[in-house]
């Protein structure tokens, strides 16, 4: 008798548990499914395809008879005398643009425009966004003429006042031009993020600092910067990955030159080899191998940032209740 009663009670309980478990799985799957499909199709699958192509000799000439060549393309990259130079260029480009413009200048601009009357600050930020909405080709042509040799370049006309000998600045200082042209555009992203972060600092903190007699620099150093630490880390991480993959302004300004791959960065080199060849035969396989290495570099950089900057803490729930 007792046994029968127990059985009757357990069966419905197990049924509810199974349904609840299923619901626990289906609801998140329903909401995350589309995103998962998109990520798979547009992020994961291209990486797999890139790696597969990198193991072939695919080029324009061999497209109708593609052969598997194993790691030959990677060995060619390893042996090439251009590889280390291009890798070094990539670190120079990412490092300097990130430090001096995309984070450094962006922070300076955000601090300045939040410390002047709001009307002027907003107008200044709007003005600074203009290059970002200008077509890249127009922007690059402006820089080309801006830095052209005498009697054309405005830079020369200006510097002549100070007795500087005119020259083609694009050829004479290609890194300066490339980093500045990229940086002036790139700084606007950080500027917007930092401005909103500074604006979100409770004004009581800043007032308290004023009451305590803190100078402007001390307020920036001890109040503002610590409180916008996470946005800074986000911009550093995001812009690092963004710069690793970006090359459009370099392509338009110097095309990787002048001279011996002076400003050729990894992503531009992959583009040159995989998609652009002056005499028609582009090498998809070799270019894909270069791109695959860039993916690996990007993943390593991401892991480092996630670990070093402890991103999991940033996205964790707050430990105290904030009213």
């Amino acid at each position: 008798m007792t046994q029968q009663t127990v059985t009757a009670q357990v069966t419905p309980h197990m049924d509810v548990s199974w349904r609840a478990r299923l619901r626990r799985f289906t609801t998140p799957a329903f909401f995350t499914g589309p995103a998962f499909v998109l990520v798979f199709l547009f992020f994961f699958l291209p990486v797999i395809l890139t790696i597969l192509i990198s193991l072939t000799d695919m080029s324009v000439a061999t497209i109708s008879d593609i052969k598997f060549v194993g790691l030959k393309n990677y060995i060619r990259i390893w042996r090439s005398r251009t590889t280390w130079k291009i890798l070094r260029n990539t670190f120079i480009y990412v490092g300097f643009t990130l430090t001096f413009f995309n984070v450094g200048l962006a922070l300076v601009l955000a601090l300045i425009t939040t410390h002047i009357p709001d009307r002027w600050g907003t107008a200044f930020r709007t003005f600074w966004l203009l290059p970002r909405i200008t077509p890249s080709v127009i922007y690059a042509i402006m820089w080309t003429w801006f830095t052209a040799d005498a009697p054309y370049g405005i830079v020369n006309q200006f510097l002549q006042i100070f007795g500087v000998e005119p020259r083609n600045w694009m050829s004479a200082q290609p890194w300066l031009v490339v980093i500045a042209a990229n940086g002036f555009v790139g700084a606007s992203f950080g500027m917007i993020i930092f401005t909103s972060a500074i604006r979100s600092i409770p004004v009581d903190f800043l007032r308290a600092a004023l009451v305590d007699g803190a100078s402007t620099w001390q307020r920036i150093r001890y109040v503002i910067l610590p409180m916008i630490r996470w946005p800074i880390l986000f911009v550093v991480s995001y812009q690092t990955l963004s710069l690793l993959a970006s090359f459009e302004y370099i392509l338009l300004l110097t095309d990787g030159g002048p001279g011996f791959y002076t400003t050729e960065v990894w992503s531009l080199h992959a583009y040159h080899r995989a998609l652009s060849n002056y005499f028609g035969n582009v090498q998809f396989g070799y270019g894909a191998a270069l791109a695959a290495i860039l993916v690996v570099i990007g993943v390593i950089a991401s892991v480092i940032y996630l670990r070093v900057f402890r991103f999991n803490e940033m996205v964790a729930e707050p430990k105290i209740e904030v009213i």
């Binding site: 109708s64 060849n277 002056y278 035969n281």
Partner: protein
């Protein structure tokens, strides 16, 4: 009393007026209304009627008219490029040929007509070729593509274009026997002809008559220079010496003695040929690097920048517009190399059509021999029409190309853009004969070289260009550059390239 009477009278009148006003309470009023209405009444009545009718006899004549079949319009596309703007007849000649084809089809009673959508690109060669490659892979390539002859090999191997040997044979008597025989070599690959030459050119060494005149040279001396070059008496290093001397004596500024092309391109290779270089083995078709010529080629470019200082440091990458504006005036640079098409470009774009200015101030000659005993040279880069394998109507596409390959159409293109003849009959065409520049540059074809038709030429060119631009920028010594070329060729091309 009178006042009382007046008051009573007024009150009485007022009462009467008020009495005439409508009553505020409803009142029953009886009214008689007379309504007049017209009523129609239909009456049926038989009437006798006499009708007089004229009868016409209608004769129907049947004329048999043959019903015309509906016109079938076939749409074709063609992509062409300058990039020099005066070369727009590369597109317009195809459009004219399509019109002629339609007339032929009409005369033959065909119901087929073609509609050609042709474009002319003035952008970058690399972008143009990339666009075609991507379109061909997507199956959307145009029916007709114009490009450099060197694309025959990679695009032929890829299956992007179709071999035209049989088509050419079909119209041999009508058209193609007239093509200058040497040009066929530029479109041959793996025993097939893959394209039809559209134009060719020479790449002369230009010099400023104006500056030489200002320096004290007589007209006879100036006019004798091209002949001295042709005879091998004036070499590339003689040119650098002269340019350096002109700089030292203040005729031109430092860095203005000799200007190369400002950007990547085939022009640099005529210097390699001038030092005895070869690019392709005629027997095996393999690419060739002549090490001695390679070293001298790199050394020459090093010397012009760093030893003689006749070309400015950081020169490569100079904007084309600045280059054209500077050299076309002939008042700053003593020697520079360019193409015959530049003559037309300078006339039309930079000198407001004043060709006389060029004749007065600019001279042209072959690229001088690298050393005594070697031959002067030049480079031709025939552009060619090809039919893409995506074309659903290759017969019609080829027919258009054939009809665009005529003395009148090619001559109008040649005269307008400064390109040389591809047809023997063009030499007798009035427009071509009347063009002084083309006549005077014609002899250069005898000294010309072509770049190789090889699928690996792109990689070969990349390596050579990287080495050359590194040397000119001071990033590599000549020895390092030679070693770099050997290593990279070995790494990238292996036994596909022969070192001599």
């Amino acid at each position: 009393m009178k006042r009382w009477l007046l008051l009573v009278t007024v009150l009485l009148l007022a009462s009467l007026v008020l009495a005439a006003c409508p009553q505020p309470t409803p009142q029953v009023v009886k009214e008689t209304v007379v309504v007049t209405k017209e009523v129609e009444k239909v009456v049926t009545k038989e009437v006798e009627k006499v009708v007089t009718k004229e009868v016409e006899k209608v004769v129907t004549k049947v004329v048999e008219v043959e019903k015309k079949p509906e016109l079938q319009v076939i749409k074709l596309t063609a992509w062409t490029i300058g990039p020099d703007e005066p070369s727009f007849y590369r597109r317009d000649n195809l459009i004219e040929a399509a019109k002629r084809l339609n007339k032929d089809l009409e005369a033959l009673g065909s119901n087929v007509r073609v509609e050609l959508e042709a474009t002319f690109d003035t952008g970058d060669w690399g972008d143009y070729k990339q666009k075609f490659i991507l379109a061909a892979q997507a199956g959307n390539a145009p029916d007709i593509i114009l490009s450099g002859h060197e694309d025959v090999a990679p695009w032929g191997d890829a299956g992007y274009i179709i071999p035209l040997t049989d088509y050419i044979q079909q119209y041999w008597e009508e058209t193609y026997q007239d093509i200058i025989p040497a040009l066929w070599k530029s479109v041959e690959y793996k025993g097939e002809r893959w394209a039809v030459p559209q134009d060719t050119e020479a790449r002369p060494m230009y010099f400023s008559k104006k500056l030489l005149r200002d320096w004290g040279w007589s007209e006879d001396q100036i006019n004798a220079l091209p002949q001295q070059v042709r005879a091998g008496e004036f070499t590339l290093y003689d040119m650098l010496e002269l340019a350096k001397k002109a700089q030292d004596e203040g005729v031109v500024e430092e860095g203005y003695g000799y200007w190369t092309r400002p950007k990547k391109g085939g022009d640099f290779y005529h210097i390699y040929f001038a030092f005895g270089g070869e690019m392709q083995d005629p027997e095996t078709g393999k690419l060739v690097v002549v090490k001695d010529a390679l070293r001298k080629w790199l050394q020459f470019h090093y010397d012009t920048v760093f030893t003689y200082k006749t070309t400015p440091e950081g020169f490569i990458g100079t904007d084309w517009k600045i280059w054209h504006e500077t050299v076309s005036k002939a008042d700053k640079v003593l020697f520079w190399n360019g193409g015959t098409w530049h003559w037309a470009e300078w006339t039309q774009k930079y000198l407001d059509g004043n060709e006389d200015y060029l004749w007065e101030n600019v001279g042209f000659m072959l690229i001088p021999a690298g050393e005594p005993g070697l031959s002067p040279t030049t480079l031709s880069h025939p552009l060619v029409y090809m039919v893409s394998s995506n074309s659903k109507n290759p017969d019609l596409a080829f027919r258009i190309i054939t009809l665009a390959t005529t003395a009148d159409l090619n001559s109008r293109h040649a005269v307008n853009s400064g390109h040389l003849a591809i047809l023997q009959s063009q030499f007798n065409h009035p427009a071509y004969k009347a063009n002084k520049f083309l006549q005077e540059a014609a002899y250069m074809v005898e000294y010309t070289n072509f770049q190789p038709n090889s699928p690996d030429y792109g990689e070969y060119d990349r390596i050579l260009w990287t080495a050359l631009s590194a040397v000119m920028a001071g990033d590599m010594s000549v020895d390092d550059a030679v070693a770099f070329v050997e290593d990279e060729m070995q790494n990238s091309l292996g036994d596909k390239v022969i070192f001599k």
